[in-house]
């Protein structure tokens, strides 16, 4: 790992020393590098307890394989959402009703737009009295708690939830999406994050957050009459992004006609405010004509048409390659080796899109562990790992600091407007002024913390020595702001 390089002077001394001494020096460094890599990529960085687990498991790779099973088990149990931020996960019927009431009140001239996130005192982060805002805030707060506190959420499950939410992105800034974002993340994404890809895709397709975000809820057969006799019809938005982003990829071999066909197949898929699932298929809104998608004929089959089409898209080789490429880029390298992508695509296809099996293939790939496959932390990585190193964020102050930092860094939680999701590469996130803003966050966070001594083995000697010269309140922040801490 590049940042664990031996500083220049000791290296000279080492060259003169015996081969045994050199070996003895290199081994703990390589072990620390593997621990750092496993903890930072399959979770959000080391904590004392997590390192202890890793050593007890018999090393980073054995730990990683255990984590896959632990995360899968956790995904099948309800999320342990701290009570103060649990509101966003209320039953969907309740959310629909509260949202309706909020809109009615606003129309009647009630609660208008008020202060922005940045201007809100931290003490009122989660309870502003404004329904949609509280839903958005509590959902974002949960993400910060889940990524930074391993006792709140299994770190690998938090990672996979981040990955799949980003792959099937929705935007908390779009009006009707707002109150549903957190519910979507926990019940559609988290629940299937280590399950089967096509189940994940269908859960996303049927969730109000996605139905509203890409306008599927409104897309109906051409010529349908609305409640006031107005003509309604097709909206291509979801059908296009389902192919381009969620499955095949832009070069996946589909045409504009395929986009129209898929949009027609999906007509009738809409929201159900009084159903616990939030979803219904409305036969009256469905286009009953014959369609042709990727060369396959679709005859009238109601809701089944859409389900078959989505499963078919999930099983295409182009989809396997796209998912494999994204996983490899997220977990291994901005430019992942082709052999790794091929192997992951095969594991994905051979297991019928079993995400647990695909993840196992990833951890068992030598490329995952190679020191030259470097990754630079995204702002989310950085914020979560800094909070995790200081014991995790469960209270409003650190959560508010993190949310504000992420907004300024250009990666607000649930805040990417377009369906492609955030980029995760260094070309996007490594820029001069942004590094200095990471230091702001780290130092502010560190002032109230005790020194995370367990990080010392992961920092270079020069860094350790330089930080030791500073007064105690500055030391935790400087550790988190150090160059070593920027990589994962």
């Amino acid at each position: 790992m590049r940042f664990l390089r031996v500083p220049a002077l000791p290296r000279l001394a080492l060259a003169a020393a015996s081969a045994f001494a050199l070996h003895a020096q290199a081994e703990p460094e390589a072990a620390a590098a593997a621990e750092w890599r496993a903890a930072s990529r399959l979770g959000y960085g080391p904590t004392p307890a997590l390192l202890e687990d890793m050593r007890r498991a018999g090393g980073p790779k054995a730990w990683a394989l255990q984590q896959i099973d632990a995360a899968t088990a956790a995904s099948r149990s309800p999320a342990r959402i701290p009570a103060a931020m649990a509101r966003f996960n209320e039953p969907l019927e309740q959310t629909f009703e509260a949202f309706r009431a909020e809109r009615a009140a606003r129309k009647a001239g009630g609660a208008g737009p008020q202060k922005t996130a940045a201007g809100m005192p931290p003490g009122r982060l989660l309870d502003t009295g404004i329904f949609s805002r509280d839903m958005v805030r509590s959902a974002a707060a949960w993400r910060i708690a889940a990524c930074s506190a391993p006792d709140v959420e299994n770190p690998l499950l938090a990672r996979m939830t981040e990955f799949w939410f980003n792959h099937l992105n929705v935007f908390a800034g779009k009006g009707p999406v707002r109150p549903f974002v957190g519910h979507y993340e926990v019940n559609a994404i988290r629940a299937h994050a280590l399950g089967r890809f096509e189940d994940l895709l269908l859960a996303s397709a049927r969730h109000p957050a996605m139905l509203f975000y890409l306008d599927q809820a409104q897309s109906v057969a051409e010529g349908t009459r609305g409640p006031f006799g107005n003509a309604r019809g097709l909206n291509e938005n979801y059908a296009r992004e389902l192919k381009e982003l969620h499955t095949l990829g832009v070069d996946g071999g589909y045409t504009q006609d395929d986009v129209r066909s898929l949009a027609r197949i999906l007509t009738g898929w809409t929201v159900a405010p009084r159903d616990p699932s939030g979803f219904r298929f409305a036969p009256r809104l469905h286009d009953a004509g014959d369609k042709r998608l990727l060369g396959v004929a679709y005859r009238e089959g109601g809701e089944r048409e859409g389900e078959e089409a989505i499963r078919m898209l999930a099983r295409q080789p182009a989809t396997a390659r796209r998912i494999a490429g994204r996983l490899a880029a997220f977990f291994v390298s901005d430019r992942p080796p082709a052999a790794l992508v091929d192997r992951l695509a095969r594991a994905f296809s051979a297991s019928q899109g079993d995400l647990r099996a695909t993840l196992r293939a990833l951890v068992e790939s030598p490329e995952f562990w190679q020191a030259d496959q470097a990754l630079f932390k995204t702002p989310v990585d950085f914020a979560c790992s800094a909070l995790a190193a200081l014991g995790g964020a469960r209270e409003e102050r650190p959560i508010a600091l993190a949310l504000r930092f992420l907004a300024g860094a250009g990666q607000p939680i649930h805040g990417w407007q377009t369906p492609d999701g955030y980029k995760t590469d260094a070309a996007t996130w490594l820029s001069p002024e942004s590094l200095t803003r990471r230091a702001d966050f780290a130092i502010a966070l560190g002032r109230a913390a005790s020194e995370p001594d367990f990080l010392a083995p992961f920092l270079g000697e020069a860094t350790r020595e330089r930080i030791a010269r500073e007064p105690a309140p500055l030391r935790p922040g400087l550790m988190l702001a150090s160059p070593e801490f920027m990589r994962k």
């Binding site: 909206n235 296009r240 300024g408 407007q417 002024e433 200095t436 130092i443 922040g477």
Partner: protein
């Protein structure tokens, strides 16, 4: 097209292009002007911005979202000429049009037929339709031509590292909004020194940190003093307007900065986009205010502002009172050298037979040709330099009068 024909075609600009190489180097490139690119991400609906009110197909295609034709009413479009009118929310642009500082092309775009936002945006930003990636954006390549090692000549406000600015030339990037005006922990001398020591190495990250610390202090101080002097009772600016103000301040404060980049999202109006009021109107209002601000801050003879978007939207509204992904679109140019107060290029109307794939505005003018024209005439770029930025760019004779030579 060969070099000779290209230069002849550029007409007035040809004499500048023909100058001996040594002379051209003595007067650094970009010294005679500044360029600001505003990218509207998500494909804005140009047919609502520049309304072809006189075309009977316009209202027919858009029964619930057409902007009313100019008749003096509050909701009506503002007449520009016998063909086009301006969205009422863009009223701040009307004086610029009347001063002949503002022009547009109603059917510009990329020749690539993609309807993917993300693919199309990359192609625009690298200047290469049909290519999925390149190691640099074209604005970065242009910065590389104009720089001389003494700090960046390009600055981006808002995005973390936009593709158009990425590449080998150093650029300055500042965040959206008021965060740009804060020095943060760097104001604390002790912490600053410790951080600079931690990042004293020669690797890319250490260099980036030191450059960032330097430029951030400069930016924050310039913006802070500007804010204090400009706050006198004025309503707080937000969004694109605030970013535009920050860009203007920083490029005035540092004259080496010659290239600026701004962007705004929220233009992908598939549903309920509204007409004279609504979702799109709100976005257009912000855009109009931001462009009027840029007009004040970039008022030197050589300054140019271009407003672009990755593609247009369908001529007809869809089944949800919005518009889907289209092809050609309105591209705006602003500046003293722009042949303004008129629109340029071809316009073939909205009848079904004249639409691309029977649904979208065609692309009559390649965006590479527009920028080639702009950079050759406005900044004196030579053809090989233009080819380096926009491989395959061709001179478009219909755009010959778009920008007057420096």
């Amino acid at each position: 097209m060969n070099r000779r024909r290209f230069m002849r075609a550029l007409g007035a600009a040809a004499s500048a292009l023909a100058l001996p190489r040594s002379w051209a180097q003595a007067a650094p490139l970009l010294s005679n002007g500044r360029l600001v690119v505003v990218f509207l991400r998500g494909a804005y609906d140009g047919l609502s911005a520049t309304v072809p009110y006189a075309d009977p197909d316009y209202a027919r295609h858009r029964p619930s979202i057409a902007i009313p034709a100019p008749d003096g009413g509050a909701d009506a479009a503002l007449r520009l000429d016998a063909t086009f009118a301006l969205h009422p929310a863009l009223a701040p642009l009307l004086p610029l049009w009347q001063e002949r500082r503002l022009a547009f092309l109603p059917c510009a775009g990329s020749p690539d037929p993609t309807r993917s936002h993300f693919e199309a945006q990359v192609q625009w930003e690298i200047g290469m339709p049909g290519r999925s990636n390149a190691p640099r954006g074209w604005l970065n390549a242009l910065a590389g031509l104009g720089g001389g090692g003494r700090g960046p000549v390009a600055i981006g406000v808002g995005e973390s590292n936009p593709k158009i600015l990425s590449g080998p030339a150093k650029v300055r990037l500042i965040p959206r909004g008021n965060a740009a005006a804060r020095e943060g922990v760097l104001a604390n001398e002790r912490a600053r020194q410790a951080l600079l020591d931690l990042y004293s190495g020669s690797d890319a990250m250490a260099q980036a940190f030191r450059q960032g610390a330097d430029s951030r202090i400069t930016s924050a101080q310039a913006l802070m003093s500007e804010m204090q002097s400009a706050d006198n009772g004025a309503a707080a600016a937000a969004g694109l307007l605030l970013d535009a103000r920050h860009l203007g301040t920083l490029m005035r404060d540092n004259r080496r900065l010659r290239l600026g980049f701004l962007s705004a999202g929220g233009w992908d109006t598939h549903a309920n986009q509204g007409a004279a009021a609504g979702l799109l109107a709100n976005n257009l209002r912000n855009l109009g205010l931001a462009l009027a601000q840029l007009r004040r801050d970039f008022a030197e003879p050589g300054d140019l502002v271009a407003v672009v978007s990755e593609f247009g939207r369908t001529a007809a509204e869809n089944g949800t009172r919005g518009t889907d992904h289209g092809h050609g679109n309105t591209l705006w140019l602003m500046g003293a050298r722009v042949a303004g107060g008129r629109w340029h290029g071809d316009w073939t109307g909205l009848s079904a037979g004249n639409l691309h794939d029977g649904r979208d505005l065609p692309v009559h003018h390649d965006f590479r040709s527009v920028f080639a024209q702009l950079l050759a005439a406005g900044f004196g770029l030579r053809e090989e330099q233009i080819q380096d930025l926009f491989p395959g760019a061709r001179f478009d004779p219909k755009l010959a009068g778009l920008v007057r030579a420096a």
